[in-house]
């Protein structure tokens, strides 16, 4: 990377100007360290989420897919920013100059969001070092306890890790979520508990990003447009503004919402919005019938081949997606005590994929080490030392 540093000099001027423009618009953020790098490294960081995270086969699969997609030009990652202090941002060296100018403006939007959004105030800004520490720890445990054992543990932990909630602070509510329950009560050895804590901590870092993905990307895109209309000539702006509409859904949804807030109530209202909201409350408060039509988002029924633009339905589905990450909502039943662990699927009408259910329970059993039950699909699945059964 050291070798690539010099070519960053061509961006120094524009970085300074964009930074000044951002401050003029009332934005405030921690320093941003820009790095120029290749698609391959960006794919690497994107697959793991953090550049120096512990190694796991799962990232390998994601990495392989990202690289394939980039080679086929189906999809490219334009930019990558980390929620750390200082913030680290990666620019692709194969982007054109103008593309990278867009990215820099976009990155300042993210940096501002990281620094000012209420939900990010308690986030761990030292995650780069934490992830490094976890990786070293895991490597030393692999050495001490055997690679296979540690890898099996990681597989099980990553499987249950999606049950974290970075917003939840009440211990009682937390205990209903599988990973916190296991952290508190599972009969784990010390090193296993240490790894569990590490995985949970990293999962919370990503959970926060996931729960603010639309507002964060929307805000960054909105800032990008605000700054660039001031920086670029009309002609340059015309040539690239089409980029803004061609972004993935979270970008366009968030961007459209912020634009409508500014148009209705002014720029300061948008600034307020980015400070106090996360995805669910943003959608709940600002999505209107008109915006649903304009964004052309709808609930689709593949059987009936029907689209529904009904605001209530779209909103509800979007919010549910955000609240439960599109995954089934599984909670620890309060009646669980002692060796019994009973999990309940909260949305019992919807069927779970049976094959995965068995594998999931096997992973939970690997951590709980006592019989695990799950109420779903109109029956109770049990996983114990004899394997899976259901009644």
């Amino acid at each position: 990377m050291g070798l690539q540093q010099p070519s960053l000099t061509q961006y120094e001027g524009v970085i300074g100007r964009l930074e000044t423009l951002a401050h003029d618009r009332g934005l405030a953020f921690d320093p941003v360290v820009f790095q120029l790098t290749d698609s391959d490294e960006i794919a690497e960081v994107a697959s793991m989420g953090l550049p120096n995270r512990f190694l796991h086969w799962y990232w390998g699969g994601v990495y392989k897919e990202l690289v394939t997609q980039q080679n086929k030009e189906v999809f490219t990652i334009l930019e990558l920013v980390l929620n750390t202090v200082p913030s680290h941002a990666f620019l692709r060296s194969t982007n054109t100059y103008l593309e990278n100018v867009l990215v820099i403006a976009h990155v300042f939007g993210h940096a501002d969001f990281f620094a000012n959004n209420h939900w990010y105030q308690k986030s761990n800004k030292n995650m780069l070092n934490e992830a490094e520490r976890h990786a070293r720890l895991i490597r030393s445990y692999e050495h001490q306890y055997g690679r296979d054992r540690v890898e099996k543990l990681l597989d099980a932990l990553l499987t249950v890790a999606t049950s974290v909630n970075a917003f939840e602070r009440s211990p009682k509510e937390r205990r209903r979520r599988l990973i916190y329950y296991l952290e508190e009560k599972a009969p784990l050895e010390d090193f296993e508990r240490t790894i569990l804590e590490a995985i949970r901590e990293e999962a919370e870092y990503f959970d926060l990003i996931q729960r603010t993905h639309i507002i964060n990307e929307g805000w960054a895109t909105f800032v990008e447009a605000e700054l660039l209309t001031r920086l670029l000539t009309a002609q340059e702006w015309a040539s690239i503004s089409v980029h803004l509409c061609n972004r993935p859904a979270p970008y366009t949804i968030g961007y459209t919402l912020f634009k409508s807030i500014r148009d209705d109530d002014g720029f300061d209202a948008a600034l307020q919005m980015r400070r106090y909201h996360e995805d669910v409350s943003l959608i709940d408060e600002t999505l209107t019938e008109d915006l649903v039509r304009r964004l052309d988002i709808f609930v689709y029924d593949p059987k009936e081949k029907q689209k529904s633009y009904d605001l209530v339905k779209v909103k509800e589905m979007l919010i549910n997606q955000k609240l439960y990450k599109g995954e089934p909502r599984i909670e620890v039943d309060p009646s669980s005590c002692g060796r019994d662990l009973l999990l309940v699927h909260q949305d019992e009408d919807r069927k779970l994929e049976p094959k995965r259910t068995g594998l999931f329970l096997k992973a939970v059993y690997a951590l709980w080490r006592n019989p695990v039950k799950l109420r779903a699909n109109g029956k109770v699945y049990t996983y114990d030392r004899r394997g899976l059964s259901s009644t």
């Binding site: 391959d40 793991m48 989420g49 390998g60 699969g61 990495y63 990503f206 589905m317 779970l352």
Partner: protein, 386 residues
């Protein structure tokens, strides 16, 4: 220097994938369309962390065609010209919980399949390259060049250089590596041009009439993959041609051959006929015909098929007839005729392909062909000396 974590992780992933494919080979190998764009696509839930998922999405959020929803979960469902793109990528973060689709190079898939099959069948695997093995040229081969392949060859080359240095010093007093192959060369091989004859042409003929699917295809493909293992070790190059037939026969590319659509009746004669026509102008030394069928040729075709079978025996060095019979039923129809015929005819082999065990004995018969040849060779060489 950069530590390439992405590639290290990918290596780990691929190792697991191999294990996974080994366990699911049977399911994969039966896919009607085995190759798409040169790749094998897995349809089974791929290597993934077993997070819970809903069994069936009754409704989902989607976006019209106007705005692209790149990345993300769920495939777009194009319905009746109206583009519907499932709304993906709503989460961002570390891609955790995202479903992966795995593609595999066809060659890589074949290698994996061979590994599994050789293991299952407890067949010997060959490691020695057979390029010097089966030459049966009329003249004594002339050893006039150095072997240049492999570690041994490197050592030989070193020895050769040393010899030439010693000779040059001795003869002309110069420290010079002026190699005279005839005098210095340490290990010889025959002139590479004679390798031309050490090649095989393999014609694979597959019956794709109505019944050839599922288990039938699995048996045929497994047999072919194991055959490839041995043939590739035997010959430095394998010229492969593929024919499918039902009422009529057609030559296909490899990729098409592994994506068959079965339909129609059976005229075995057309398969033989096409195979024979492919021998026109062929200079390869060994010519193989591998025919896979369930033997139920239409009654009017029987006599013609017999005739073409005879012609094939004349044209090919070995005609292997695989009667594909996953149910293990009795052998009838044209297969019955071939089974009888091979007892008295040279250069023909019959295999009743019922399961892995029968593939195994078929392979033993097939390898027997090479042994007979090897046994015949010293006699031929002796005859030449006389």
């Amino acid at each position: 220097m950069r530590i390439h974590r992405g590639r290290i992780a990918q290596y780990k992933h691929d190792q697991l994938l191999r294990e996974y494919l080994k366990q699911n080979l049977n399911e994969l190998i039966q896919q009607k369309e085995l190759i798409l764009d040169g790749k094998v696509k897995t349809q089974i839930a791929t290597l993934d962390l077993p997070t819970l998922k809903f069994g069936e999405e009754t409704q989902f959020l989607a976006q019209g065609s106007g705005s692209g929803g790149a990345g993300g979960q769920g495939a777009g469902a194009g319905q009746g010209g109206d583009q519907v793109q499932a709304l993906g990528g709503l989460l961002g973060g570390d891609h955790h919980g995202k479903e992966l689709q795995v593609e595999l190079d066809f060659d890589e898939f074949v290698r994996l399949a061979q590994e599994v099959l050789l293991d299952d069948l407890r067949l010997p695997s060959f490691h020695d390259p057979g390029r010097a093995g089966e030459v049966e040229a009329q003249e004594q081969v002339e050893l006039d060049d150095l072997d240049r392949i492999g570690l041994r060859a490197d050592l030989n080359l070193e020895e050769t250089m040393l010899q030439s240095l010693l000779r040059n010093t001795r003869e002309s007093g110069r420290l010079d590596y002026d190699v005279d192959v005839r005098q210095d060369a340490w290990y010889f091989i025959e002139d590479p041009t004679t390798f031309q004859n050490n090649r095989s042409v393999e014609v694979y003929v597959l019956d794709i009439s109505g019944s050839m699917r599922g288990e039938y295809l699995a048996l045929v493909r497994k047999t072919i993959f194991i055959l490839w293992h041995y043939l590739e070790k035997r010959y430095p190059t394998n010229l492969r041609r593929y024919v499918v037939f039902q009422d009529v026969a057609e030559e296909k590319t490899r990729d098409e051959f592994f994506c068959v659509e079965s339909s129609g009746g059976t005229h075995i004669s057309t398969g033989f006929e096409k195979a024979i026509s492919l021998l026109d102008g062929v200079t390869e030394y060994d010519k193989f015909l591998f025919m896979f069928t369930d033997g139920e040729t239409s009654s009017g075709d029987f006599d013609l098929a017999k005739k073409r079978f005879d012609e094939a025996l004349g044209g090919f060095d070995l005609v292997c007839y695989g009667h594909v019979n996953p149910g293990g039923r009795g052998i009838g129809g044209f297969s019955e005729f071939v089974q009888e015929a091979v007892r008295t005819r040279e250069g023909a082999m019959f295999a009743n392909l019922v399961d892995l065990e029968t593939i195994r004995s078929a392979m033993r018969d097939f390898l027997g062909f090479f042994e007979t040849r090897a046994a015949r060779r010293p006699a031929a060489a002796a005859a030449r000396r006389d």
